[in-house]
């Protein structure tokens, strides 16, 4: 009797687990995404540490399917998710949102860091073409990044919507790019390179002495 219950429990656990995993990509599915994101947003409300999400949509996926067929389409999805999986941290939660859309939850991650992570994801895919028999298929994706901060009134859906808006913006700006709300970042963080910054900070350091430039 006891053994039966244990076996039954194990079965339920496996079923539960499998209903959270997307079979094709091995990423978490929509249901898990919503629950995990709700939990992370709750953590932000308690700890004050922001949660970030990166949403992405494979570029020209319909065209790939139409031109090469569904099998290659599926291979493209597998390739992209494999490349991204290698580029994210262990704590990040990779989910298939649906179709060729994916969401990465970055727990306890500030916005600036998330935008840089998205850029890494973008580059890693753009650099890894899908090898077909005798040819290569270049894959790219468009990314939107959003952060949830303590004190903001926002639902899980609203949070994903916010990231989705920037995916759309990235698509409209020509695809294969990362879009986000710049005004949410410190100005310098968005635009100024380290070498520019080094020269700029010397302007004030120069004092009345000889200009060092």
């Amino acid at each position: 009797m006891a053994a039966e219950i244990v076996a039954l429990r194990e079965q339920v656990r496996q079923l539960e687990a499998s209903s959270r995993i997307d079979a094709l990509t091995g990423y978490y599915n929509y249901r898990h995404l919503m629950e995990a994101l709700a939990a992370e947003m709750e953590r932000t409300r308690r700890s004050g540490v922001p949660t970030s999400v990166i949403m992405t949509d494979l570029d020209h996926f319909k065209q790939i399917n139409d031109t090469y067929g569904h099998e290659i389409g599926n291979a493209a999805l597998k390739q992209a998710t494999r490349v991204w999986h290698a580029a994210i941290r262990q704590v990040d939660v990779a989910c298939r949102y649906g179709g060729e859309e994916f969401v990465f939850i970055l727990p306890g991650t500030r916005f600036g860091m998330a935008t840089r992570a998205a850029e890494r994801l973008r580059i890693s895919l753009a650099r890894t073409p899908l090898e077909l028999d005798g040819s290569r298929l270049n894959l790219t994706a468009s990314f939107g990044v959003a952060a949830y901060r303590r004190g903001e009134e926002m639902s899980v859906e609203g949070f994903i919507d916010r990231a989705d808006r920037y995916v759309l913006q990235a698509k409209q700006a020509g695809r294969n790019q990362v879009a986000f709300d710049r005004s949410q970042l410190a100005l310098q963080e968005t635009a100024v390179s380290a070498s520019e910054k080094a020269l700029l900070t010397r302007i004030t350091a120069a004092g009345d002495d000889e200009a060092p430039l």
Binding site: S183, L187, T190, A191, V192, E196, L200, I203
Partner: protein, 256 residues
């Protein structure tokens, strides 16, 4: 049709560097040559042009969008030849102008501007959508910087974004809150060197405004310091900037 006015954004990247103070006093100084001046408060989140003039306002720039108010009816005149289009303060959800709002507001503002010779737009800090939009909307861009690392780096970041993503390549630079004009010249020169090696921009050193306690005093009195009877070095500097700009206003008006 009126002649198109001279329009200029006063912007900075960092807050608290003296944008509003410059906009208000430059505007006031320019009325001395009988120009009709409009100051638009483009700092939709932390609007305070009205406070600098001691105005009590009950209409603002967002009423134009929300209720279709007549833009000219939203303008207050603290001086005979100087109008202020105020913005509301502390209404965060109104700060972000969507693309549709921008087009609409742009149309209204264009009509309003025709009533004036010169329009100065005071902007918010940062590079939010409204800051970029106002800067793209006008003919000229004036960037205020102070000799402080974050002010310089933020000003540079704004110039970079405007030049690389919004096709603005000419900027007027005012160095504010320095000890003397030599420091202003040095800061401008070095800023220009860095910009020159990384960006496709043409910078013009429009002027230097030294630190002057009369600036803060004028804010507390809610009266532009260029109009105060006790005349300090900041007032002198701003009047000089106004005198340099004035001929360009004529050119703008004469070009049609």
């Amino acid at each position: 049709m009126g002649t198109p006015p001279f329009t200029m954004c006063i912007t900075s990247g960092k807050g608290g560097v003296g944008k509003t103070s410059l906009a208000v006093n430059l505007g006031a100084a320019l009325t001395r040559t009988d120009r009709k001046v409009l100051i638009v408060d483009g700092d939709l989140g932390l609007a305070n042009v009205d406070i600098f003039f001691g105005l009590s306002v009950d209409t603002n720039i967002l009423d134009i969008l929300a209720n279709g108010s007549d833009p000219l009816a939203c303008v207050s005149f603290p001086l005979d030849n100087l109008g202020v289009l105020p913005a509301t303060s502390g209404v965060p959800e109104m700060v972000a102008l969507g693309p549709g709002d921008q087009d609409k507001l742009g149309g209204y503002l264009q009509c309003l501007f025709d009533h004036f010779d010169l329009v100065l737009i005071d902007t918010a800090a940062g590079i939010g959508a409204s800051v970029l939009w106002f800067n793209s909307f006008v003919g000229d861009n004036l960037v205020v910087l102070t000799p402080e690392p974050t002010a310089i780096t933020d000003a540079y970041a704004l110039v970079k974004v405007l030049s690389t993503e919004h096709r603005r390549h000419r900027f007027e630079i005012v160095v504010n809150q320095v000890a003397d004009t030599e420091e202003g010249a040095r800061v401008f020169h070095q800023f220009q060197m860095v910009a020159g090696s990384f960006l496709d921009v043409d910078l013009n050193h429009l002027g230097t405004v030294v630190s002057d306690p009369l600036v803060g005093k004028a804010v507390r009195r809610q009266k532009p310091f260029v109009l105060a009877s006790h005349f300090g070095p900041a007032a002198q500097a701003v009047r000089r900037i106004a005198a340099d700009l004035d001929p360009r206003v004529v050119t703008a008006a004469a070009s049609v």
